[in-house]
């Protein structure tokens, strides 16, 4: 048996199993017969096994350089190092859909394991049926339009190679998988929402759905931060977020899932916003399909669109199907949903709702800004650009409101406010004012000063809440404060985890404000041995060298950097700036060298060099303050999410040592 044959057959098997599973789930729903449900549940395991086998076959074909398989011939090469071969399955369209479908099958299988436990038999058939339907779509796309295992009649001696931008950094082994885990993970909350609406059980779905959403959200967050870091390390422009369509496609589901995570708590506690929660989760899942459509259809061009192909129309149809199904059910349910009680704005639920409104608005702005150029061109034929300067300006005020709400929300009690809360709010506003004034006093811009103020404000909020809880517990049980803190952290994991996440977000906002405002880019051509004095640095060009590497050719320009004043703190060292030439790329890729410090990041890029005599080289220098803290913040947010998700009963020490995906 060849890998191509094995892969093709197991793919077909996965499609047939998914179709059977869908049919059985529908039968179980219609006939209310547990045997059909059990059969569907078992098929989810079979589908996962078939998908896994298919994925393994693709890895096998790539590792054995089997160029009779179209995907391997098109996207791999004899000269690729082992790790590049291992990650090649998600370097292009067909393979990445296979990875997607395999993860989808894995999630369906996991949901199948919950049947009879938290997933009751009223909701299980429609939840499994929804997931099987999604699976049918992905396997059908592969079998009919984007088959990874198509046979090549005359196999070439070598493949066309993997996209160099992806080979250039090991992060590509991690980031796409995390992204897919997050994107695909949102199908489970969607399936739970559909099941709740089909079974007309509008309240009980929310607890477990929140958990599943948090899992997907954690993966998405880790994926977004690792993607930012990849962009920072590789693309050579010193930034981490360009509001590029592919980046927007990843942030839209994230924003909607975040909105859901907040309003879901209100439903859990008070039974309110049921209809809104259905809407948020349906839109979040639809946004993952929409994002895939945008980036896979070639409708929008982007620096990150590594895997485009002929699947656009299919994804559009699927998106319309998801929206029609989800919103149709929503229309029926919202006519039936009964809720008792109203929302006061000055309460926890009011703040959570307001926060969700801002997340929703943000998502709306990103969708509109991403699509507007297409719409304008379709309507009037005029070409317009909507890019980073626009999104940055619009997201700044939205961000300020969200950070304000993030501090207030958890401090406010449910239902209505109390007198002691006003004292807390006063302290937080005081911190905001002091931070703002300190920033302005140091001569920083208004925006950055506001970010400092908001950081202090959120830190005060978290501190007040934790200190209050610890004080009360220590007094009532007569134990020491540190013991009270440990006990509280272990018994209120959700609350403590959310404090950790919120702290991470406040820190990220601070890092973004500083780095976006004070990033400086300069470019200069240096002769061999020449010294460039700028921004507290002395940069000396030492040599220009060439190096042949297995899959590329590199030109290296080692430099020596000394810091001469506080402005250039921590920059000392020798750095190898380089340009990588890949045979399959028209222009070389400049791989920046980054000196990370908690104060400034120093970023050196070799832009050009003397090709004839090797006498000069052009260097770009980018100095950005506080980017380092953005990666710390990403780590903290993921850690906080893990803390919430960590199974209860495990001691705090255990969760601190947990491995963290990403960074």
């Amino acid at each position: 048996m060849t890998p191509g044959l094995l892969g093709g057959l197991s793919l077909l098997a996965a499609l047939i199993f998914s179709l059977l599973g869908l049919a059985l789930a529908v039968l179980a729903q219609l006939l209310r017969d547990g045997r059909y449900l059990e059969a569907a549940r078992r098929l989810s395991a079979l589908t996962f096994a078939a998908a896994l086998l298919s994925f393994a076959a693709l890895e096998w074909a790539i590792l054995t350089d089997d160029f009779s398989v179209s995907y391997v011939a098109g996207h791999s090469s004899l000269h690729n190092p082992l790790w590049v071969k291992l990650v090649t399955p998600w370097a292009a369209l067909e393979g990445s859909i296979l990875l997607w479908a395999m993860l989808q099958a894995a999630y369906t299988w996991l949901v199948g394991l919950r049947v009879g436990k938290s997933l009751d038999s009223w909701r299980a058939p429609s939840a499994l049926g929804t997931l099987f339907a999604v699976q049918v779509f992905f396997f059908a796309v592969m079998v009919f339009v984007a088959h990874p295992f198509d046979a090549v009649p005359n196999p070439p001696p070598d493949g066309r190679g993997t996209n160099p931008l992806l080979q250039n950094h090991w992060m590509m082994a991690v980031h796409p998988v995390l992204m897919y885990l997050g994107f695909v993970g949102l199908s489970v909350p969607f399936a739970y929402a559909v099941a709740a609406m089909v079974a007309r059980r509008y309240q009980s779905w929310i607890v477990e759905t929140r958990w599943w959403t948090l899992v997907a959200w954690g993966f998405l967050t880790a994926a977004i931060f690792t993607g930012k870091w990849w962009s920072y390390e590789i693309l050579g422009w010193g930034g981490y977020w360009a509001w590029d369509p592919v980046e927007n496609a990843s942030i839209i589901p994230w924003l909607l899932a975040t909105a859901f995570l907040h309003t879901a708590q209100v439903q859990e506690r008070k039974g309110l916003f049921k209809g809104w929660n259905f809407a948020f989760i349906t839109l979040a899942f639809a946004a993952t399909v929409f994002g895939t459509f945008l980036t896979r259809s070639g409708v929008i061009q982007s620096v990150h669109a590594f895997a485009s192909g002929p699947v656009g129309a299919w994804f559009l149809l699927f998106l319309l199907g998801v929206l029609a199904g989800g919103l149709g059910l929503l229309a029926r349910s919202s006519a039936e949903i009964r809720e008792a009680g109203e929302v006061r704005w000055a309460s926890r639920e009011g703040a959570l709702l307001a926060g969700a409104l801002f997340f929703g608005t943000f998502a709306f702005v990103v969708v509109l800004g991403t699509l507007w150029p297409l719409l304008v061109e379709a309507v009037s034929g005029a070409k317009v650009s909507i890019g980073a300067p626009f999104f940055n300006q619009v997201s700044a005020p939205l961000g300020v409101f969200m950070l304000l709400l993030m501090g207030i929300g958890p401090v406010l009690p449910w239902r209505h406010t109390q007198a002691q809360v006003q004292r807390n709010l006063l302290a937080m506003l005081l911190a905001l004012g002091v931070g703002l004034l300190i920033g302005l006093g140091l001569g920083l811009t208004l925006g950055v000063s506001l970010a400092i103020g908001l950081f202090a404000y959120n830190l005060t909020a978290i501190w007040l809440m934790v200190a209050q809880g610890v004080r009360e517990r220590a007094r009532s049980l007569g134990i020491s404060s540190s013991q009270a803190l440990l006990e509280l952290a272990a018994s209120h994991k959700r609350r403590f985890g959310s404090h950790i996440v919120h702290f991470g977000v406040a820190l990220a906002a601070l890092a973004i404000a500083f780095s976006q405002t004070y990033r400086v880019t300069e470019q200069k051509t240096l002769s061999l041995g020449e010294t460039w004095q700028t921004r507290g640095l002395e940069v000396r060009l030492l040599a220009i060298q060439a190096r042949e590497e297995a899959n590329r050719f590199a030109v290296l320009a080692p430099i020596e950097v000394r810091s001469t004043s506080r402005e250039g703190w921590g920059a000392d060292g020798r750095y190898q700036t380089r340009l990588n030439f890949y045979p399959q790329m028209a222009s070389p890729i400049a791989t920046p060298v980054v000196r990370y410090t908690p104060y400034n990041d120093y970023y050196f890029v070799l832009m050009q060099f003397d090709q004839e005599k090797g006498q000069w080289a052009t260097l770009k220098l980018i100095v950005t303050p506080m980017v380092w803290w953005l990666w710390v913040a990403g780590f903290v947010i993921v850690l906080g999410t893990l803390y919430i998700l960590w199974p209860s009963g495990v001691r705090v020490a255990g969760s601190k040592a947990a491995p963290v995906a990403g960074d």
């Binding site: 929703g360 608005t361 619009v394 939205l398």
Partner: protein, 153 residues
């Protein structure tokens, strides 16, 4: 050795786009600040500050030249708009069809608040109609809440 390397380098360049072997001009931070707001016309979603495409390199050179001539940021941007149209600006002008994008935050928030208001109004009307009847799920919720408060959460 050195000769061989530059020959290989040249070969790569010959296969790729022709880049003249003259050093590019030194660029001040201001050049990049301006270039950041301009689209690189041949790239896929990159600004003239980031791209290494020939035309982006040329745009940075033009910006540096015009800055040296004492032109202001607005004048330099106008120079590019005259040649390429508004499309070259990454920040769309707040007029005509792109005015709507600038209004999108207000629009989005307005729509959501309106939706919320409608939702609450409907729920309230329903609640009045069904005041006599306590829904089953409400009872379940109250029980759960009682249990939770008994557990001291």
């Amino acid at each position: 050795m050195r000769g061989l390397f530059f020959l290989t380098g040249l070969l790569f360049f010959a296969l790729a786009q022709p880049i003249p072997n003259t050093p590019p001009p030194d660029l001040s931070p201001q050049v990049f600040e301006i270039a950041k707001t301009l689209r690189c016309p041949v790239c896929q979603g990159e600004s003239a500050a980031e791209s290494n495409a020939g035309i982006a390199v040329e745009m940075r050179r033009i910006i540096a030249e015009q800055l040296a001539q004492g032109k202001s940021e607005a004048e330099i941007r106008r120079f590019f708009v005259e040649r390429y149209g508004d499309w070259i600006l990454y920040e769309p002008p707040a007029r005509g069809l792109t005015l709507w994008v600038w209004l999108s935050p207000l629009l989005g928030l307005g729509l959501l608040v309106y939706g919320l208001w409608r939702y609450q109004a409907r729920i309230r009307a329903q609640a009045q109609r069904l005041a006599a009847e306590v829904p089953e799920e409400e009872i379940a919720r109250l029980e759960a809440e009682l249990k939770r408060s008994a557990n001291g959460d």
